[in-house]
Amino acid sequence: MELHRYERWWIWIGALTMVALFATLVTLQIVQGLTPPSHIGTIDPASVARTPPFDHPGLRKLPDGSYDAYYVGRVFSWDPQEITIPKDAVVHFYVTSTDVMHGFEIVDTDVNVEVVPGWVSSATQTFTHRGTYLIVCNQYCGIGHQDMYAKVIVR
């Protein structure tokens, strides 16, 4: 089995590029904590409405000035439908579902998580621009999937 030297170079260049990419990902994870949303935590999907803090979905201001936002997805709406936050607010989103899978995406942000019944998903975003952000459901959940959206208003 012979490998032409051009092919050997070609594979080395490709492999080293991938090693560099992987090293970048690892570095970003260690230095900046940049990971995919990977919250580990379960919740009884049958009693979300009785389980704090999801029994009262919505915003909570934290002592450090940031916010927690608790969302419940159910066919075919998000609860809360609308939240209002000041510009430059840091918001930690926690999202769960009472029924089937949903997808929690805030357009034009990095918030994009799968929402799984029985589990809590999480993502954090700093809102640096004023305006109205659109939250969509981006995981097919049934006949009314396209009607499942909400708003974030940044003042």
Partner: protein, 541 residues
């Protein structure tokens, strides 16, 4: 050496099911692009999500699988003859696959399984949908059994010799597929009793891990089908030998090893799986660059060698010397161009933290349309122009229409996929019937791109119509020609036989299993340590 008429009928039976699935599936696809663009309304019987499910299942699962079982069977039978051929087991496989397909397709069209082709629990479809899908897969296991039976004939007649290259590639592809489908079969063992109401609920995250353990190797199953053609049939069109018999085998072994331990990269946005396991599988995912670049090198080397034989050199000399008038070559070459962009997009998807920008957006839809929809589907259609005439012993009805078809596909898929990628970057979600979102101005920016997607869809459906017309005319009215053959390229006379270690498939299979264990023991152990709630599930359509 060539397949008998009995064997040709079997291969044709696989291809015909694939083409029927192509016809129905792409028609639904066109309707979806129009509906999403707000250009048509659909009657309730053609509910958007129902036909989206049918589109995905018929094209991603049925068209691809039947074409690859047909191709793999042909590649093996053509290179390992049996006198007289025994086809009973192979027909049994075909009937099982067909029964499963009909069962699942009926449930989808009857509205019992509007769960899309990923059938994520706890969307609860009719149990007969899951049983149908399971039968389709079990049928492919019988295909593998039949191919291994043929391989054992070769071993008996040619002790110590490597399997012929096309048969080797087909068998490695089906071994990888077998290991992958064990995951979805395990998922079905959870879903079927649940769908019948025998169990109270389902562990949703476990079904997702099992599904994606299968779901990523599924895409390699598709691409290896195309690679069988690229490595072993394409050089024949270029009048060159196989680039390297040994390196081709090595590439396939690497794909066998690296296709499986990577499924979690589809679950980057999932809760319940730690970032470290996602990072581990990202590492395995990136390793696939090695066999991918080997493949790219082999293709360009063949092009160069072919042009050199005609005395042509340099980039333009080589491109100009290629047989662009041959629809099979043109289709494959165009599909390779699209695959380069598919590869770039794939690196974005696999890039762990970057994934969240595109996850579940139309970008992903654009990505798989220029991967499975281009290098795979276009290669299969282009190959049909040489394989089908050989199987029916008739001339291709129209070379010109075939050439037009592959170009239309290239233009249509480029247009559609581009529009989908940009929609995704602007945040448009995938899998939604209506892009208006209550008149949102953000969503309004997606609409022009939805129109461009539909325009690409129109070009593609013209391409499909041209293909099906040519196929129908070829099998019915085209002139008979007993000399039509589909021949795989020969091995370079100067190349030494492949080293024996490349042929030890049992060991390679064991190694693949070890890699799967390394990749999955972490996330599975983490899962079972959680307090997992069982979810009852429901029909939401």
């Amino acid at each position: 050496m060539t397949v008998t008429s009995q064997e040709r009928r079997l291969v044709l039976a696989h291809l015909y099911v694939a083409f029927a699935a192509l016809a129905v599936g792409t028609t639904f696809g066109l309707l979806q692009t129009f509906f999403r663009a707000g250009a048509v309304s659909l009657p309730p019987v053609l509910d958007y999500y129902k036909i989206l499910t049918a589109h995905g299942v018929l094209l991603a699962l049925v068209f691809t699988t039947f074409f690859i079982t047909g191709l793999g069977t042909f590649a093996t039978y053509e290179t390992i003859p049996e006198h007289p051929p025994k086809t009973a087991v192979a027909w049994l496989a075909w009937w099982i696959m067909l029964a499963g397909t009909v069962m699942a397709a009926y449930q989808i069209l009857a509205g019992g399984a509007t769960v899309l082709y990923t059938f994520y629990a706890p969307l609860k479809a009719s149990p007969w949908f899951y049983i149908g899908a399971t039968l389709l897969i079990v049928g492919t296991w019988v295909v593998l059994f039949d191919l291994l039976r043929r391989a054992s004939i070769w071993k008996r007649v040619h002790p110590g010799e490597a399997l012929p290259l096309p048969a080797f590639m087909a068998i490695v592809t089906f071994i990888m597929w077998f290991l992958a489908t064990l995951g979805v079969a395990a998922e079905m063992l959870l879903l079927i009793p649940w769908a019948f109401g025998w169990t109270n609920g389902i562990d949703v995250m476990l079904t997702r891990i099992l599904f994606w353990y299968f779901g990523h190797p599924l895409v390699y199953f598709w691409i290896l089908g195309a690679y069988i053609i690229w490595y072993a049939a394409l050089p024949k069109l270029l009048n060159v030998p196989v680039f390297s018999d040994s390196l081709t085998r090595l590439a396939f072994i690497l794909f066998l090893l690296l296709s499986l331990p990577v499924g979690v990269h589809h679950e980057f946005s999932d809760p319940g799986i730690s970032a470290r396991w996602k990072l581990l599988q990202t590492f395995f995912t990136l390793l696939v660059v090695v066999p991918s670049l080997m493949t790219a090198f082999a293709m360009f080397a063949m092009f160069e060698e072919s042009a050199a034989r005609a005395g042509k050199r340099g980039f333009f000399g080589i491109v100009g010397a290629l047989p662009w008038n041959d629809p099979m070559f043109a289709g494959i070459a165009l599909s390779m161009i699209l695959f380069i962009f598919g590869g770039f997009g794939g690196i974005v998807n696999a890039s762990y933290s970057m994934n969240r920008v595109v996850h579940n957006t139309m970008w992903v839809v654009g990505h798989f349309h220029i991967t499975v929809g281009a290098p795979v589907a276009l290669t299969f259609l282009a190959t049909t122009y040489r394989l089908l005439p050989a199987l029916v012993r008739r001339r291709l009805w129209s070379e010109g229409l075939a050439l037009a078809q592959v170009w239309l596909w290239f233009i249509g898929m480029s247009t559609m996929s581009f529009a989908m990628h940009v929609q995704g970057l602007l945040g448009a979600p995938r899998r939604t019937s209506d892009l208006t979102y209550g008149g949102s101005s953000i969503a309004a920016a997606w609409h022009p791109l939805a129109l461009l997607t539909a325009a690409g869809g129109v070009i593609l459906i013209l391409s499909v119509a041209a293909f099906l017309w040519n196929v129908l005319a070829t099998i019915t009215v085209a002139p008979r020609n007993e000399d039509e053959r589909f021949v795989f390229a020969s091995i370079r006379a100067s190349e030494r036989p492949a080293p024996a270690w490349l042929g030890r498939l049992g060991w390679w299979t064991a190694a693949a299993v070890v890699l799967v264990v390394v990749a999955y023991v972490g996330p599975i152990a983490e899962h079972v340590r959680q307090h997992v709630y069982i979810v009852p599930g429901m029909r939401t359509w």
